[in-house]
C-alpha cells in the first residue's frame, strides 16, 4: 500500500503536534517503524490498526511511557523530548489508557490528583482537590462524585475519572486509547458527545479504535498503522469502510464472511432453572434455562457483567449452582467437578485466557498436551517427551499456532496465538459440547476470523456450541439461535432468524425484547 498524500486541508491552523520518523523497537521486533503524524487543534484524529499494529506504543512514546528509539516530537513546531508522563502532562499532553490506570481503593479526587496532589507541606489538601474535581466535572458534563471510591464505580465512570485526570492538567492534546471498547452503546453515545465538546473547545483529540463505525461517527481525519508502519493518512471523508478495512488488514476482504446456519440435531446440553451466586454471595443468575443441540451454535449475548461469566463457570463445573440442573447428553453434571464435566465431553474456551486458559510459564507443548494427560498420546505409564512434542507439533500446525517452537513459553505468545493454542487443546479432542466465552476479545481481524471458522467447523462436525459474548456483531453473524441475557435473566430469544444488530442492541439495553 502506498501512503497517499494528505489533501491540503483548507483553513486549518498549523498542527499543534508533529511526530516525525518515530521508531520503537522491543528486542528484535519493531513495534513502531518510522511513523509520521500531525495533529491539529480542534480536530478528532482517529488512529486505526490491528492489534499489535503499534498504536498504543506510538502513543506511549508521545506520552513518555516509553522512549522512542528514533524520531522527534514537535510541539507547536518546537522539538520537545517527553521523558516521563509527568513531563507530558506539563507539556499539555494527556492520555487515557487502553487499560485504566486507577487505584480502586482511593477516591475519585485522590485518583485524579494522584502524583500531583495539592498539598501544604507533606499533607494533602483533600477539600481543594475534591472541589476542583467537582468543578471540572460539571464544566465538561462528566458526572462523578469526587469523594466516591473508584472501586465502586462503573467502567464508564472510571473512564470519566481517567479523562478528568487529563483535564485537571488542562491538556491541549488528549489521547484516548480504545476508549469505547469498554462502553455500552448508550455510554458510547454520551461519550462521543463529550469528545466532540473537547474538540469544540479547541482540544486536539487522538482516538484509537477498532470500530470503523465509531470512527466514521466522530473522527475528522484518520491514520492507519499496520505492523508499526503508517499505511494511510486521510480525511475521513475520502475513504470507505471497505478501504479502511483493507488498509488495516493489508488485504481486501469483506469485514466478515457470511456464515451458513447449522442443522440442529438432538439436544446435548441442557440447563434448567439455574441460579447462581457470585464471589460475594450475591445472586447474579436467576432461574436460567437453555438448551443446545448437536450441530447448533447458541449465542448468549449480553453486556459484560450480567451473569454470563458465572453462567459459563457453572456449566463447566467451576462454580456450584445454588439451584437448577445441568445435563450433558442426559448425564446430570449439576455441581460436578470440572474434571467430571470434561469427561462428560465438554470443551471450554475460557474468558480469562491468560489466567485460566493457559499456564504462561509452561511451554506451548505442555499447555497443549495438558488436555491429553488422561490419554496415552503423551506416553504410557510414564510420560514420553517425544510423543508429547509430536502431538503438540501436529496440533500447532493444525490450529496455526505461531511460536518459535513448541518449547517457547506460552506467555511470550501474542494474544491471538495464545487463543489459538487454547483452541488447539480444547477443540482437537472433538468435544460434543463447546462452551466459549468472549473467544475473540482483543484479537485482530485475521485471528478473529480463524477462531469463528473453527467454532463453525466444530458445529458442522456435529458439536454443540454455546457462544457467550458481548459482541453483537459476533453473535449475530455466527449463532443459529441468539439468547439475550440481562441482569442474570434470559430476556429474549431469536430462534427463527438472525436478528439485526439494532434489534438485539435495544433488547440488551432495555433488558426486554
Amino acid at each position: 500500500m502506498t501512503d497517499r498524500p494528505v489533501p491540503a486541508a483548507p483553513a486549518q491552523d498549523p498542527p499543534v503536534l508533529r511526530l516525525e520518523g518515530i521508531v520503537k523497537r522491543f528486542g528484535t521486533m519493531t513495534a513502531v517503524d518510522t511513523v509520521d503524524l500531525e495533529i491539529r487543534a480542534g480536530e478528532i484524529h482517529a488512529l486505526l490498526g490491528e492489534n499489535g499494529a503499534g498504536k498504543s506504543t506510538l502513543m506511549n512514546c508521545l506520552f513518555g511511557l516509553v522512549q522512542p528509539d528514533e524520531g522527534t516530537i514537535l510541539l507547536d513546531g518546537l522539538p520537545v523530548d517527553v521523558t516521563s508522563p509527568r513531563r507530558a502532562l506539563e507539556l499539555g499532553i494527556g492520555m487515557v489508557h487502553q487499560h485504566f490506570k486507577l487505584v480502586p481503593s482511593l477516591t475519585v479526587a485522590q485518583n485524579v490528583f494522584l502524583g500531583s496532589e495539592p498539598h501544604t507541606g507533606p499533607f494533602v489538601q483533600t477539600r481543594t482537590a475534591e472541589e476542583t474535581v467537582a468543578r471540572l466535572a460539571d464544566e465538561y458534563g462528566l458526572d462523578v462524585r469526587p469523594d466516591e471510591k473508584v472501586r465502586s464505580l462503573s467502567v464508564g465512570a472510571q473512564q470519566r475519572v481517567e479523562i478528568l485526570r487529563a483535564l485537571a492538567k488542562d491538556v491541549r492534546i488528549l489521547v484516548l486509547d480504545e476508549p469505547t471498547a469498554v462502553l455500552t452503546p448508550a455510554e458510547t453515545e454520551r461519550f462521543f458527545d463529550v469528545v466532540r465538546g473537547f474538540a469544540a473547545r479547541g482540544l486536539a483529540v487522538v482516538l484509537i479504535s477498532h470500530h470503523l463505525k465509531e470512527v466514521r461517527q466522530v473522527a475528522d481525519r484518520v491514520t492507519v498503522l499496520r505492523l508499526g508502519k503508517r499505511v494511510a493518512h486521510e480525511a475521513i471523508g475520502d475513504v470507505t469502510n471497505a478501504d479502511l478495512a483493507a488498509l488495516i488488514t493489508g488485504e481486501t476482504r469483506p469485514v466478515s464472511s457470511e456464515v451458513q446456519r447449522g442443522t440442529p440435531g438432538a439436544t446435548v446440553l441442557e440447563v434448567e432453572g439455574l441460579t447462581l451466586r457470585n464471589g460475594r454471595g450475591v445472586e447474579v443468575v436467576h432461574d436460567v434455562s437453555l438448551r443446545v443441540a448437536a450441530g447448533e451454535i447458541v449465542g448468549v449475548l449480553g453486556i459484560a457483567g450480567n451473569g454470563q461469566t458465572e453462567l459459563v463457570e457453572a456449566v463447566t463445573g467451576l462454580r456450584k449452582p445454588t439451584a437448577g440442573r445441568i445435563t450433558v447428553k442426559g448425564v446430570d453434571t449439576t455441581g460436578a467437578s470440572p474434571g467430571t464435566v470434561r469427561a462428560a465431553g465438554v470443551g471450554h474456551i475460557p474468558e480469562d485466557r491468560i489466567g485460566r486458559g493457559m499456564a504462561g510459564y509452561w511451554s506451548v507443548d505442555h499447555n497443549i498436551t495438558a488436555g491429553y494427560l488422561d490419554t496415552d498420546e503423551v506416553g504410557g505409564r510414564l510420560l514420553s517427551d517425544s510423543k508429547a512434542s509430536s502431538l503438540s507439533a501436529r496440533l500447532m500446525k493444525e490450529f496455526d499456532v505461531r511460536a518459535s517452537s513448541g518449547r517457547q513459553l506460552a506467555r511470550r505468545l501474542s494474544g491471538g496465538n495464545a487463543q489459538k493454542m487454547v483452541l488447539a487443546r480444547e477443540l482437537s479432542r472433538q468435544p460434543d459440547v463447546v462452551v466459549c466465552a468472549e473467544p475473540t476479545r482483543g484479537l485482530d481481524i485475521a485471528a478473529t476470523d480463524f477462531v469463528r471458522r473453527e467454532l463453525v467447523a466444530r458445529r458442522d462436525a456435529g458439536g454443540a456450541v454455546l457462544l457467550v459474548s458481548s459482541e453483537i456483531e459476533e453473535v449475530t453473524q455466527v449463532a443459529d439461535r441468539v439468547l439475550i441475557i440481562s441482569a442474570g435473566r434470559i430476556v429474549a430469544e431469536y430462534a427463527d432468524h438472525r436478528p439485526s444488530e439494532a434489534e438485539v442492541g435495544r433488547a440488551m439495553l432495555e433488558g426486554k425484547s
Binding site: 511511557l65 509527568r86 500531583s116 496532589e117
Partner: protein, 314 residues
C-alpha cells in the same frame, strides 16, 4: 488490681519490640513489599545499639545507630529484591539467616566475646518514672518506670497513622500497593516508594532491636529476638496493614506473651508449653481471620492471579 497493673506492665514491655517493628512493616506491606526480614533487621540493630552504646557511652546514640543499622540492613533486602530481582519473600528469609550469621561473626571475631556480648558499665536507655502520677490506680503502676522507648514506639505508631492517611507519601504508598501501572502512569516510581517503605520498616525494627539489647540488660546474643520479628510481621498481616489494626494485633500478641509469663506463676507443671503461647496465639489469630474472610467470599472461584515464587527451569 495490682495483678492487672503488673500484667499490663509486662504487656507493655513485651509490646515495644513487636509494635515498633510492626509499625514499619505496615508501610512495606501496604506498598506490597512484604518485609519478612524484620527479625533480621531487629537482630542487626540490637547488636549495633549495644556496640554503639558501649563505645559512645550514650544509649541514645546507640538507639540512633540501631535505627540506622536497621534501615541499612533492610536496604540489603531492597537491593536483593529490586536490583538482584529476587522474590521478596525468599530474599527476606535469606536476609534473616544472613543476620544470624553476620551478628555471630561480628560478636565472635570483631568483638572477641564469644557467644554472648555483654559489656559491663553500659548505660541503658532511661526509664521514665511517673512520680506522683504513679498513684493513678491501674495505669499508674503499669506505666511507672517503663522504658523511654515505649513512648518512642507509641509516637511512632501515631505518626505512622497520620503519614499513611493524611500525607502524599501515604497516598503514593497505597497507590503503589494496589497498582504499579496506575502509579507509573502519574510518574510515581513504585520501586522508589517500595524501597523507602522497606527502609522505614528496617528503621522501625531498629527501635525494637535497640530495646531488646539496651533497655533492660546490656547484653546481645544472636538468638535474642526469639522470633519477635516474625510475630511483628504476623501482627502486620493480622492488622491488615492498617495502622490501628496493626496496633491492636501487636497488643494482642504482647498480651499473649505477658499471659504466658503470668501463667508460669500459677504452677500448671507445663511451663515449657506455656512458653509457646505467643506463637500459638499468632497462628490462631491468623487462622481465625483467614477463615472469616473465606466465609465472606466463600462463593469465590479459585484465585486466577496466582504465580508461584519459584519454578524449576527445564
Amino acid at each position: 488490681m495490682n495483678a492487672t497493673a503488673d500484667f499490663l506492665a509486662i504487656l507493655l514491655t513485651s509490646l515495644v519490640p513487636i509494635l515498633a517493628a510492626a509499625v514499619g512493616g505496615m508501610f512495606a506491606e501496604r506498598a506490597r513489599a512484604s518485609n519478612i526480614a524484620l527479625d533480621g533487621c531487629m537482630l542487626v540493630a540490637a547488636l549495633a545499639a549495644i556496640v554503639a552504646g558501649a563505645k559512645s557511652g550514650n544509649p541514645w546514640i546507640g538507639v540512633l545507630v540501631a535505627v540506622a543499622a536497621g534501615a541499612a540492613y533492610s536496604a540489603i533486602l531492597a537491593f536483593a529484591a529490586f536490583f538482584l530481582r529476587c522474590d521478596l519473600i525468599i530474599a527476606g528469609i535469606a536476609a534473616n539467616l544472613l543476620a544470624t550469621g553476620v551478628t555471630l561473626l561480628v560478636v565472635q571475631n570483631v568483638l572477641d566475646s564469644p557467644g554472648t556480648y555483654s559489656p559491663t558499665g553500659v548505660d541503658l536507655v532511661p526509664r521514665v518514672p511517673l512520680g506522683p502520677l504513679a498513684d493513678i490506680p491501674v495505669l499508674g503502676r503499669a506505666l511507672d518506670r517503663q522504658s523511654a522507648l515505649l513512648y518512642v514506639t507509641v509516637v511512632l505508631a501515631v505518626v505512622a497513622a497520620i503519614v499513611l492517611n493524611r500525607t502524599r507519601f501515604g497516598v503514593h504508598v497505597k497507590a503503589v500497593g494496589e497498582s504499579d501501572e496506575a502509579a507509573l502512569a502519574v510518574g510515581i516510581k513504585p520501586i522508589l516508594v517500595r524501597t523507602v517503605t522497606i527502609l522505614i520498616s528496617g528503621a522501625c525494627a531498629g527501635v525494637g532491636g535497640a530495646y531488646l539489647s539496651t533497655s533492660s540488660v546490656a547484653s546481645f546474643n544472636s538468638q535474642l529476638t526469639g522470633g519477635l520479628g516474625f510475630i511483628a510481621f504476623a501482627a502486620v498481616i493480622f492488622g491488615r496493614a492498617t495502622p490501628w489494626g496493626t496496633v491492636l494485633a501487636s497488643l494482642l500478641f504482647a498480651a499473649a506473651t505477658s499471659l504466658s509469663i503470668r501463667l508460669q506463676g500459677t504452677d500448671l507443671g507445663i511451663q515449657q508449653l506455656v512458653h509457646a503461647l505467643p506463637y500459638v496465639a499468632t497462628v490462631v489469630a491468623l487462622s481465625v481471620q483467614a477463615i472469616g474472610l473465606t466465609r465472606r467470599d466463600r462463593y469465590d472461584v479459585s484465585e486466577t492471579t496466582y504465580v508461584p515464587a519459584i519454578i524449576p527451569k527445564g
